[in-house]
């Protein structure tokens, strides 16, 4: 794909409501206005489980037809379409230094007979390297994704209202679910935010599905929302979308044991940290130790000035692999470790690619049980441990 790729967003108006219902199934779609005043739906309502698929069948066929008519690539999310174009040598449609196979009117003309009801206001009036799709602003030239300014203000307001309403007051399940849903969505842009979500999902779970009770949010939830507030206050924040290429395999192995401590191997050099008895608190278990082992790797990578890379880490703990990859954990101790990890990963544009290795094949396994490696291979690196870890770990040599 040469430079000059552009996109144009279009929206199908009242998408689900364009999909007619089989008359024999209309008896399932009655609604009531005032008492004993009934209405029947002729089209799919948004809340029907089949609505996305049935309306989607129409839109998918439209997309496939459009691609066959030479308009591509096309991205679609429900009623939201993002049509792209790239420069072609003999294109009839000129924009700046590039020529393209179609412009907006031409691409619409190609499937005009299908009578798609395009929304007159939503979407882009022309092709551009900046396009809003699925509520996010995509910058094709600079390869970035960000929140449109209006959305940033909307989410900022949502967070700030939640804090002011419920910092000292009780809220209902729907209040938590709404803010949690919004923040989950935008954590695609705010990657470090993923570890500032579990306090919300834990709190939502504490309602046990009861829509009517009121509960006080936890202090950690308010702390997390204040983190979001701070992030959302910054204008023009974006996530850079860089293909990392082939993952970097530095021979990184991590392991931990409850009996001794943590072992790490990077490029044949080892590092071991013995834990003190104080490490064991409720909630801190082998899963936490294994996560901390992976956390320590980011400090090593940072010290080695590694950035803009996907880095392979071998671990024998599936729990750690899962929560580190997801960027969150319901266990608050593990979640704190993930938060610290991502606060280093994100600014350095590093992504971890975890590979599972059975314990017996993990070269870091003996280290974690206190069987240290040869002194000449000990990693010549000491870094300041985070305050939570500093009192409970000592470097072994």
């Amino acid at each position: 794909m040469p430079p000059g790729t552009q996109a144009c967003t279009l929206d199908i108006e009242k998408f689900h409501r364009t999909c007619a219902v089989l008359p024999d199934h209309k008896p399932w779609l009655v609604l009531q206005g005032h008492k004993d005043q009934f209405y029947v739906d002729h089209v799919h309502p948004f809340g029907a489980s089949c609505a996305s698929s049935n309306a989607g069948m129409i839109a998918n066929a439209m997309v496939d037809i459009w691609i066959a008519e030479g308009v591509k690539p096309i991205l679609k999310y429900e009623d939201d379409l993002n049509i792209m174009r790239y420069p072609v040598p003999d294109g009839q449609f000129k924009d700046g230094q590039y020529t393209y196979a179609y412009d907006r009117p031409e691409m619409l003309r190609r499937i005009e007979p299908l009578k798609i009801p395009w929304h007159p206001e939503k979407g882009d009036p022309y092709f551009s390297s900046l396009s809003i799709f699925i509520g996010m602003l995509w910058d094709l030239e600079n390869h970035r994704v960000s929140l449109p300014e209006q959305k940033r203000q909307k989410y900022l307001r949502r967070v700030s209202e939640f804090i002011s309403n419920f910092e000292r007051g009780r809220c209902q399940l729907r209040d938590v679910e709404r803010i949690h849903g919004s923040l989950c969505y935008i954590s695609f842009i705010f990657r470090a935010g993923r570890s500032h979500l579990p306090s919300l999902s834990n709190f939502a779970a504490s309602f046990k599905g009861d829509e009517f009770i009121h509960r006080f949010p936890s202090r950690s939830l308010i702390t997390d929302l204040k983190w979001w507030l701070k992030e959302l206050t910054v204008m023009n924040f974006y996530r850079q979308l860089i293909p990392c290429g082939d993952p970097l395999d530095l021979g990184i192995y991590v392991d931990a044991s409850t009996s001794w401590g943590i072992g790490i191997i990077v490029e044949g050099e080892w590092l071991a940290l013995k834990h003190k008895p104080e490490w064991k608190l409720p909630g801190r278990d082998i899963g936490w130790l294994e996560t901390v082992a992976a956390e320590l790797v980011v400090y090593i990578l940072e010290a080695r000035d590694i950035h803009d890379s996907t880095v392979i880490i071998h671990s024998d703990n599936q729990g750690t692999i899962g929560s580190m990859t997801k960027g969150r954990s319901p266990n608050p101790h593990i979640n704190l470790s993930i938060q610290r990890t991502y606060s280093v990963l994100c600014p350095n544009f590093i992504t971890f690619d975890f590979k599972y290795i059975p314990s017996e094949e993990n070269p870091a396994d003996p280290l974690s049980r206190g069987e240290l490696g040869p002194p000449q291979d000990r990693m010549n690196l000491f870094f300041q441990l985070p305050p939570e870890l500093e009192p409970i770990f000592v470097y072994a040599d």
């Binding site: 199934h25 005043q37 948004f46 489980s49 209202e161 290429g245 996907t310």
Partner: protein
Amino acid sequence: MPYPGLADPKTPEAFLLTSKPQSLLYPSFTSSIIPRPTFDANIHAYPDVFDRIVTPYDANAFAFFLDKHTLSLSYPLLVSNLRNGFPLGPMPNLLVTSVLPNHPTVMEHQSEVDEYLEKEVVARRISGPFSRETMEQILRGPFQSSPLIVAVQPQAPGEPDKIRICRHLSKSTRITPSVNSFIPKHYFPTRFDTASRVADIVSFLSSFQRNASFADPGHSNEGSFFIHQAGEGSFFALPWTKVLSLSTRLAEVLSLRMHSHMCQGSFLALLSSRIHRS
């Protein structure tokens, strides 16, 4: 934060793989449809309301284009559904009329609800209001009325809240199962281009800008090949059909495991690494 993307984003073909829509298999419910009685003027009313098909699409044009591009086999039900209406699912025989009361939020926003209903009537997307008896005459038997619910969505500062009036089709009572309980989700496939998928494509753009050539492996599902560069100078080809079946299987596994639209884009990363290794 960079998006890890596909294992080797240097090939332009990978871009087309990423941007290529996945094929879906739509099950047919024709044999499960329980027809309502034929219109009988003595006991039924307003046949035009029962029979009304409201859609902006031109079914004949869809038929023409699907045929023109040999896509009819991918959408065997579409043209008939556009003409006759889409089935909701394998719905059972509805034997008694059930009326589930509206959510309390409807009372709080009665004028907005009235306005909404009027607008829908004018647009011919709903018909009413009718009494319970008339509705049973129109629908030629019992019906199920699901609750309306009003959702308020706060907007950016200075903008009024958005009011959304929805049917709560998942609402059930002890004696009345919800409408949605009869609609198994797995019979209703969907494809969504999620943020992750867009990120793949947008991140690819940067690598293509470093690559001069752009070859289109063709956009027909049949007979064309996905050419993948497995390493320096070594290429192998997979038929598109195989790539698509692999992607469909992975998507199914992922959607079963995660039940989330947001994750579906990531199957492409998996797909690519799977192909890369094979």
